[in-house]
């Protein structure tokens, strides 16, 4: 009886030796998820370490961002940013050619111009790709400007209160009384149709909005016991404002930051459509404005820039939505 058993053992040993390579590969595949998927853990951890890892991984922000629409939005944003940075490599024509004067205005799609030609024979595909650059370079600095200035102004207003608050809030009231696009038109009429001024106009327009947004949460947060506790331990006003109060009210700002990038791209397109932007720029709103007279005979020249605007704005909105769900779960079902 003993011999077969021993043989079996030997057989198994041999088998194991043979499978060393296979085992290592299997082990790598088994363990690669620990690197890639947050929340997975190594099995030889002690119990305390395990608990610790678990709480850490629960905090993983990315975990809550996992939803199909958010990932779709991220992919869209990634593509748009790629267009903006590497447009010259992706587009079939150079920037000069795409913005130059050529033959064949309003020609339908051909193999050399995949999406057709617009006014002065410019390539629609190239212009659609280069358009990302001007949209992002106007929207991002503008929104960053308004967030930074708005947060500082709103923070001071909400934290100090009293007459400082009254003065700042009345100024924001004045700004908010005008419709945004009209005020932008006024600024551009005063300063001129240059990219920097359009940027600045949009930046200034966003400031009162963000100031209001953060003031509301600061008013709430500054009364909380932990702010008082921090004050008791000897923190100064600025430390209290930017270390203890601000991080607790920054969430709505982050959310509306992403939302508003889409909004600014949209209003920039609107402004260009009205003819109030820099006409030398390659910009989607410009293209639509130029092509709108030829809607019937050359629909492609208007369709593709429109699609680009739609997709870009949607991408930022989706990410904003996902961020809101991740940061503020109470709002998820609203």
């Amino acid at each position: 009886m003993e011999e077969p058993y021993e043989q079996e053992l030997k057989f198994e040993e041999v088998k194991e030796e043979k499978n060393i390579v296979k085992n290592t590969i299997f082990w790598i595949f088994k363990n690669i998820k620990f690197l890639l998927i947050p929340g997975s853990r190594l099995e030889d951890l002690s119990r305390r370490e395990f608990e610790y890892e678990k709480t850490i991984s629960k905090r993983k922000f990315i975990r809550r961002l996992k939803s199909v629409l958010t990932i779709l939005g991220m992919i869209i944003i990634f593509i748009i940013i790629t267009f903006a940075i590497h447009g010259a490599w992706i587009a079939p024509y150079t920037r000069e050619v795409a913005n130059g004067v050529l033959t064949g205005s309003w020609d339908p799609p051909t193999p050399s111009n995949l999406l057709g030609q617009t006014k002065f024979g410019r390539d629609v595909l190239s212009r659609a790709i280069y358009g990302a650059y001007s949209s992002l370079t106007i929207a991002l600095p503008a929104i960053t400007f308004s967030v930074i200035v708005g947060v500082i102004v709103g923070m001071i207003s909400g934290y100090y209160g009293g007459w400082v608050d009254s003065v700042i809030m009345r100024i924001t009231d004045v700004f908010l009384a005008f419709p945004g696009l009209i005020l932008a038109l006024v600024f551009i009429a005063i300063w001129g149709q240059h990219m920097e001024y359009i940027m600045l106009a949009f930046g200034i327009l966003g400031v009162p909005y963000y100031a209001r947004l953060i003031r509301g949460s600061v008013l709430q947060a500054r009364e909380l016991p932990y702010v008082e506790a921090a004050r008791v331990s000897g923190s100064g006003n600025w430390r209290l404002m930017f270390r203890h109060v601000l991080p607790n009210c920054i969430q709505p700002i982050i959310i509306s930051f992403t939302f508003d990038i889409g909004g600014i791209i949209l209003s920039l397109a609107g402004l260009s459509f009205l003819g109030y932007s820099d006409m030398t720029l390659i910009e989607w709103g410009n293209d639509i404005s130029v092509a709108r007279l030829h809607l019937t005979d050359a629909p492609w020249s208007m369709f593709w820039p429109g699609i680009m605007i739609l997709v870009t704005v949607m991408g930022f909105m989706l990410v904003g939505d996902g961020l809101r769900d991740a940061l503020d779960p109470r709002m998820k079902n609203l």
């Binding site: 610790y52 016991p225 932990y226 008082e228 506790a229 921090a230 000897g234 607790n248």
Partner: protein, 414 residues
């Protein structure tokens, strides 16, 4: 002790105060509050939250401040820290802390005192920690705010040690280079192994922050948290109420303050945790020699912890006595009422005694003695004249006309 007091005084007024105190023999007091008045200017009227409060606190002493809700206990504490927010304002009075008049300091100077010499623990430990900062960061912040120079000294020391270690390794390496030809293979191998070992042991380069974290770890261990290192990396929501209060206490004690104001430190905790926290405070008081101003409405806690008690009623201190005296022989009618209204298991069949009437409105407080509308022993004089503090026993002060020899013959109110 006097020399430290002298160092901190600078102006003439302080000197005068100091000589006064030397004459009366109370220079040992850590905190002297005299005739403190704090008002809140609201739309309905002026709320006299603290109206002429005076008390002294010795070094290494626990003083209890008892009173009903809304009688001005917390406002007194906040006034000492000068943290009364508008519309509140400290109207007059003097707060001498360790020979320095706190009310004369600028905001910058006052900030130096907060957290370093005077700290406060709040009644709500659940909300007193910043929810988005790790515990360790919050404790380390106190160290970085108040003890930066000491931390820097430690850091320099560590860096020197590290340089020494580096030098040893370098020397060994040079030795290896020079003697390489003469050494046998085994000796060479040994030397190399030694260098490798030393390199492994070499301490990392530390920053100021890391040293602050190390100190935080020490102080957190002090308050009876076993897994100090793990706790420091946690966020407040991951801790229980008792744990959070312990962390708060450790934050308060981190800079070894002279005065700790505990504003109802056990109110939000259940009874077993309460006992633990009180024990902890007792132990820490012995270890760090900190004076504690304990604000509470729980007479049980007072009996447990305090040496002296001040009973507050409607913005004034009505009785001020050693704790034992107060419980054995309460003099003021209000104190009597308070002590007799403690439910007792022996008097189960009797009805619980209460003080009749309502807490007075602080906007229109009663004239004269503020307790007279509710007092059972009321004299005719009570609603006309404000009572003075009368020393009825050794260190036992009562603000009541019943014990004033001046009004001995005053008729009883009908």
């Amino acid at each position: 002790m006097d020399s430290t007091v002298k160092k901190k005084t600078n102006a003439g007024a302080d000197e005068k105060n100091q000589t006064d105190s030397v004459i009366t023999g109370i220079s040992e007091n850590l905190l002297e509050v005299k005739n403190l008045k704090t008002n809140f200017y609201t739309e309905e009227g002026i709320v006299k939250a603290v109206d002429g409060v005076s008390f002294n606190m010795g070094r290494d002493e626990v003083l209890g401040l008892v009173g009903e809700t809304g009688c001005g206990k917390s406002v007194t504490a906040l006034s000492i820290l000068r943290l009364v927010r508008p519309p509140g304002k400290i109207l007059e009075g003097s707060i001498m802390f360790d020979g320095v008049e706190l009310l004369d300091l600028t905001d910058e100077q006052m900030r130096e005192y907060r957290g370093k010499d005077i700290t406060m623990i709040f009644q709500d430990p659940l909300n007193s920690l910043n929810p988005i900062l790790q515990i360790g960061r919050q404790i380390a912040e106190v160290f970085l705010l108040h003890q930066e120079e000491e931390l820097k000294e430690i850091l320099e020391k560590r860096h020197l040690d590290r340089d020494k270690e580096k030098q040893v390794i370098k020397d060994l390496e040079e030795e290896l280079k020079i003697k390489k030809i003469r050494l046998t293979k085994e000796e060479e191998r040994e030397l190399k192994a030694e260098i490798k070992n030393l390199k492994k042991k070499k301490t990392k380069k530390l920053s100021l922050k890391e040293i602050a974290w190390e100190k935080s770890e020490e102080i957190v261990k002090e308050v009876g948290i076993a897994d100090a290192k793990g706790i420091l990396k946690r966020y407040p929501h991951e801790l229980s109420g008792g744990m959070r209060q312990r962390v708060m206490i450790s934050m308060g004690l981190s800079c070894n303050p002279k005065l700790l104001i505990a504003d109802e430190p056990t109110t939000a905790l259940d009874v077993t945790i309460q006992a633990q926290i009180l024990d902890l405070m007792k132990k820490l008081k012995k270890k760090f020699m900190t004076s504690i101003l304990l604000i509470t409405h729980d007479l049980g806690i007072i009996a447990e912890l305090c040496e002296r008690v001040a009973v507050m009623y409607s913005g004034t201190i009505v009785e001020y006595a050693p704790a034992e005296d107060l419980f054995k022989k309460p003099r003021h009618p209000y104190t009597k009422g308070l002590i007799s209204s403690i439910p007792s298991i022996e008097k189960r069949d009797q009805e619980l005694l209460t003080i009749r009437g309502m807490v007075p409105n602080l906007i229109y407080p009663p004239s004269g003695c503020r307790f007279h509308p509710r007092c059972d022993y009321r004299l005719e004089i009570c609603d006309k004249v404000r009572p003075n503090n009368i020393e009825v026993d050794d260190k036992h002060f009562v603000a009541c006309h019943l014990f004033d020899p001046k009004y001995k013959n005053s008729p009883k109110y009908q």
